[in-house]
């Protein structure tokens, strides 16, 4: 379980890093998205991973906390997702503005000299 998640995070983050180093702003945007997925998964994993555990039932006395993962990172990741989503949307708007004003999708706002 941990290995699968770790590899997934690594692949996502690595692809993201490669993409943000590309010259087109759409590639940069995609890279930022992939990196934020990776980071969100990473925060989520910080509360440990648990499988094959019974669901949380409140009727039979106090449930054993050892059966469950730490809920705080899950709360944090929700906030992180919302903020990341909003700021990435803002970048998208900026990208479209840049495209409209400069007529190119290059991150510098102009095509490199040949």
């Amino acid at each position: 379980m941990e290995v699968v998640i770790a590899i997934a995070i690594g692949v996502l983050f690595g692809s993201g890093v490669w993409l943000i180093l590309r010259p087109r702003s759409f590639q940069v945007l995609t890279g930022l998205l992939l990196m934020s997925y990776a980071v969100n998964l990473f925060i989520f994993c910080m509360g440990l991973l648990a499988i094959d555990q019974p669901p949380l039932i409140l009727e039979q006395g106090t449930p054993d906390p050892a059966n469950y993962t730490d809920p705080l990172p899950q709360a944090l990741v929700l906030t992180a997702i919302v903020i990341g989503f909003a700021t990435t949307a803002l970048y998208l708007v900026l990208m479209m503005g840049s495209r409209g004003l400069t007529g190119t999708g290059h991150v510098d706002g102009r095509e490199p000299q040949q």
Binding site: I20, S25, V28, L32, M35, S36, V39, N40, F42, I43, M46, L72, P73, L76, T79, A80, I83, G84, A86, T87, T88, L90, Y91, L94, M95, G97, S98, L101, T102, V107, D108, G109
Partner: protein
């Protein structure tokens, strides 16, 4: 909970409410919008002064005021904490905001929509970052500040601002992701996000368990260093600052200082002398990074042809000096570096505002001729001046420019000199036998950077004021007053240097005793409920 503790929340809540109300008001009623915004900023100024008075007069134990959000006791809920350092930063923010806002009245507030709301939200983020005591909450306030700053940078949409914005936003988005990684690692290793609690637990950790935690702390601090533009994270700064409209650029000067503030706070708290195995971790890297930043900024000052960038490089030099001074890791140096922080922030912000007024007064053709004359070394006799008195506007611009140059370069008699002098003094005095390569390098590099600064500024001044072509433009009172106020603040800093430095010494003493701070936060009492209901 007394009224004074409720006051800690005001610097966050007031801009939030005011900004929200301002969104609803139609853009055409800009006088009303300005009045509301200005009223809110003045209230923030008053709050900051009261908070400073509260922390410094011993009305709170050890000068630490704690506000426990939703009445959760300290390590569990989010605590807002004000101490002398936070109060100082709040006051600096409020003073700068008042000046920048007044400057925007005539022109800049109207060139786009929602300037005033964004301004308030940015203040909320800044104040929140100074007050919060929870690492994840710090992330949230950083994002509030950044989201507003993206909007403000693009305010008055043109190609330059879009270009600068694309880089600025992308860099800060990546930095935010690093921030999250850092926070997650710290939580995974210590099980807490409360700064005081993290510091308390780090002190008890074994050296073997520290590795991952230090990785987390470093990735967190990299974010702060991106904000404070340490080399090699600072290449975005000159472009961004020269593209932004002047009042926004003046506020951005403060954003670099947020990076410095958080570095100082987190580093001195978590890796203090009391932190056991990780005491003083990474200070050397901070020091040498700061030195390289000063050199980079100094070269930039001499090389820059665009005026906005000159001010940007001045901000980089100031950041570098502060980082190197933090990295030097000497207790008596802290008050001096805080003095430098206040003085250089005020001066660079005034410079940002002044550059636009100077540009407006320049005859563009003459300005161009000046540049080409230097480039091609034309031997052309300048026109003999005919006996005309200096117009008041030009005199004001020239005098303010001279003051700013003196402060930024650190020449006597203004506050920049006192700041640098007291830094050198505490290094020479305090190091004793430990005064070695680092002390020599620091003093030499800071002095050389002062030389580079004065060369860069004199070149600019000669081209502008003596190169001819100053067309006395009409200056508005609302644009002159802010610059005057900022410079007056620097003069007051010089005249009242002794009481200011003694306040800063108490601030520094607080920072040297993280134990007291940790205990003050963690033992803050919750409000007992009256009656039976919880």
């Amino acid at each position: 909970m007394s009224w004074s503790q409720q006051l800690i929340l005001v610097p966050v809540l007031l801009p939030l409410l005011c900004g929200a109300i301002l969104v609803l008001i139609n853009e055409s009623r800009h006088h009303l919008k300005f009045a509301l915004n200005f009223g809110s900023v003045l209230l923030l100024l008053a709050t900051a002064i009261v908070l400073m008075w509260q922390t410094d007069t011993g009305r709170w134990p050890d000068g630490i005021g704690v506000y426990l959000a939703a009445n959760w006791s300290a390590p569990f809920g989010i605590a807002l904490v004000v101490d002398r350092l936070a109060a100082l930063m709040l006051l600096l923010t409020a003073v700068l905001a008042t000046c920048a806002l007044l400057y925007s009245l005539k022109r800049w507030g109207r060139i786009g929509v929602h300037f005033h709301s964004l301004f308030q939200f940015m203040l909320m983020g800044l104040n929140g970052a100074f007050l919060t005591h929870d690492l994840f909450n710090l992330f949230v306030f950083f994002e509030v500040m950044l989201a507003a700053s993206y909007g403000l940078l693009l305010h008055g949409y043109n190609v330059n601002r879009i270009r600068a914005g694309m880089q600025f936003v992308a860099i800060n988005l990546v930095a935010s992701l690093l921030f999250l990684i850092g926070v997650a690692l710290i939580y995974a290793n210590t099980g807490t996000l409360n700064m005081a609690d993290v510091a308390a637990r780090v002190a008890e950790m074994d050296a073997a368990d520290l590795g991952l935690l230090q990785v987390g702390m470093v990735s967190l601090v990299i974010v702060f260093l991106v904000k404070s533009a340490m080399w090699p994270f600072g290449f975005w700064l000159p472009t961004t600052y020269s593209a932004a409209s002047p009042p926004v650029a003046a506020m951005f000067v403060l954003m670099t200082k947020v990076g410095i503030y958080t570095t100082l706070r987190v580093w001195l708290l978590v890796f203090s002398d009391e932190a056991g195995d990780s005491a003083g971790f990474g200070l050397e890297l901070l020091f040498w990074g700061g030195i390289v930043t000063i050199i980079f900024g100094g070269i930039g000052m001499i090389a820059s042809e665009v005026h906005g960038q000159l001010a940007g490089y001045a901000a980089i030099v100031s950041s570098g000096t502060l980082l190197a001074a933090i990295g030097y890791g000497l207790d008596p140096l802290v008050p001096a570096l805080l003095f430098y922080l206040v003085s250089s922030t005020l001066a660079v912000a005034a410079f940002m505002l002044l550059i636009e007024l100077i540009d407006r007064s320049r005859n563009p053709i003459h300005a161009m001729l000046e540049l080409t004359r230097e480039a091609f070394e034309f031997e052309e006799a300048p026109d003999q001046p005919v006996g005309v008195g200096i117009p008041a506007a030009v005199a004001f611009l020239g005098l303010s420019f001279a003051c700013i140059a003196l402060i930024i370069a650190g020449l006597p008699p203004l506050s920049g000199f006192i700041a640098k002098f007291s830094m050198f003094h505490s290094i020479l005095e305090g190091s004793g036998a430990g005064f070695g390569v680092e002390g020599t390098t620091f003093i030499a590099v800071v002095l050389l950077a002062g030389l580079a600064t004065i060369i860069g500024l004199i070149t600019y001044g000669i081209r502008t004021f003596w190169g001819g072509g100053m067309v006395p433009a009409r200056l508005n009172v609302t644009e002159v007053i802010p610059i005057g106020v900022l410079l007056l603040a620097c003069v007051l800093l010089t005249v009242y240097a002794s009481p200011v430095l003694s306040y800063l010494e108490r601030t520094g003493a607080d920072l040297q005793q993280p134990g007291l701070y940790i205990e003050g936060v963690l033992s803050a009492p919750v409000v007992e409920s009256k009656g039976g209901h919880q």
